[in-house]
């Protein structure tokens, strides 16, 4: 009940490897759009490997906290009940949505998540570009209420694994669009390309894990439009291919900003404000970038600007 009998992610690793090989070959033989740059690929895969090591190092703390919460649970939900899996599927996916939104909209958690977004490519190795500092950021706490409600920790761990595996295949440019019914309900390569795009139009959108319905429900859904292809990476792309810089650069940025803060309020703004927040507004946030983009669009063609801006 406490420890999962199997780890779906570990089981999926051979599939991940084969899928990456297939994608590289599809790109090579011009069967599909799939760009690979060696140093970018090396960084993505090294991040994936390092996150496994970080997970081992921090796993004990998370496991201990989860067991403690499990001992103080409200209900005991049976792991063998189909309804329990259905409810957990929805609850875990909703938890993921809010975890992911928080990880983009507040700098402290963005510092941990940003390295998933630093690739200027969008291929299956990007999916493996996972954080090393998630344990420190504490976003794992968001899943504890599920255990507190009574979902066994093993069940939650398996569902989290299933979600992670689902999100692997959507990191590709090989698939353009899924059938409309699928695009309406599920997160897809198209929806997730938007999420990884650095175009002002697409910023802070499509936080879904498996179901895109959460974005539609909470107003963060933006569709991919053919007239504006996604450009990948972060607003300010990394200047180098240094692995450790990729892991820690935003944490270092936070530390420098705190050191230069003139008040506690400023320091808190730097840590918990949106990425790009500054006391004098001299830096750009997603919000200001979108406002500037809308203004440019309106200036270029006033009617079109109003009509097209999401």
């Amino acid at each position: 009940m406490q420890k999962a009998a199997f780890d779906p992610v570990q089981m999926a690793i051979p599939f991940f490897v084969l899928a990456v090989i297939l994608e590289i070959l599809l790109g090579r033989f011009a069967r599909a759009k799939a760009n690979y740059e060696t140093r970018d690929t090396a960084m993505s895969l090294s991040m994936g490997f390092g996150s496994t090591v970080a997970g081992v190092l921090f796993g004990g703390v998370i496991f201990a906290a989860t067991v403690w919460v499990w001992r103080h649970r409200i209900f005991t939900i049976p792991m063998t009940a189909v309804w329990a899996w259905v409810v957990l599927f929805l609850a875990e996916d909703l938890t993921y949505y809010w975890f992911h939104r928080l990880s983009h909209e507040r700098r402290f958690w963005w510092a941990s998540h940003v390295n998933h977004h630093t690739s200027t490519h969008y291929n299956l190795t990007t999916a493996l570009r996972q954080t090393w500092t998630g344990g420190v950021a504490g976003t794992w706490l968001l899943w504890l209420p599920l255990t507190f409600l009574g979902f066994p920790p093993a069940m939650v761990a398996i569902q989290k694994g299933i979600s992670l595996i689902y999100q692997f295949w959507i990191h590709t440019e090989v698939i353009r669009r899924m059938p409309p019914w699928f695009e309406a309900v599920f997160n897809t390569p198209s929806h997730h390309r938007v999420h990884h795009a650095r175009n002002a139009r697409y910023l802070d959108a499509n936080y879904a894990g498996i179901l895109i319905i959460w974005d539609r429900l909470f107003g963060t859904f933006i569709p991919e439009v053919d007239e504006e292809p996604c450009r990948y990476g972060t607003v300010k792309n990394l200047g180098n291919f240094n692995l450790l810089y990729n892991v820690f650069h935003e944490w270092i940025g936070i530390a420098k900003d705190i050191a230069s803060s003139k008040s506690t309020r400023e320091a808190l703004g730097y840590v918990f404000g949106p990425p790009g927040w500054s006391p004098d507004g001299s830096r750009d946030t997603s919000h200001t970038l979108k406002a500037k983009w809308r203004a440019r669009l309106a200036a270029a063609s006033p009617a079109e600007g109003e009509e097209k801006a999401p």
Partner: protein, 127 residues
């Protein structure tokens, strides 16, 4: 550390090495031909949409550019198969001194090198 975990980590590491080697051998990077005037303008419009540069200088090897917008220098340089954009005070750029046809720009997270056809700086395009 238990043996199973070590085997898993070892296997993962071997997988990483294998896939990186495969990407290096068969992977298709984005084409990044040397920048010409048109490509430089298009890149500037994407990376600095709110700026209207007065002057643009393209590096001799076409792997980067420096543009001037008033007191600001707009810097673009190739990283892998893409470009990185940074802005700096113009005074910093104009104070640089190229050596042996190379102009080194000091950024917070990189030291891009721009090829200059001679060691005269700033070039006539930016003067």
């Amino acid at each position: 550390m238990d043996k199973t975990l070590l085997i898993q980590l070892g296997g993962s590491l071997a997988g990483v090495v294998l896939l990186v080697a495969l990407a290096a051998w068969l992977g298709v990077a984005r084409p990044t031909p040397p920048l010409d005037t048109e490509a430089a303008r298009a890149l500037l419009a994407i990376e600095f949409p709110d700026h209207r540069p007065d002057a643009v200088w393209i590096a001799a090897d076409g792997a980067g550019l420096i543009a001037r917008d008033g007191t600001l220098a707009l810097v673009l340089y190739r990283r892998g198969d893409g470009y990185v954009a940074r802005d700096l005070p113009w005074s910093m750029i104009v104070a640089l001194k190229p050596t042996n046809g190379r102009l080194k720009v000091r950024l917070a997270d990189a030291r891009p090198v721009f090829a200059v056809s001679d060691d005269a700086w700033p070039p006539k395009e930016l003067a």
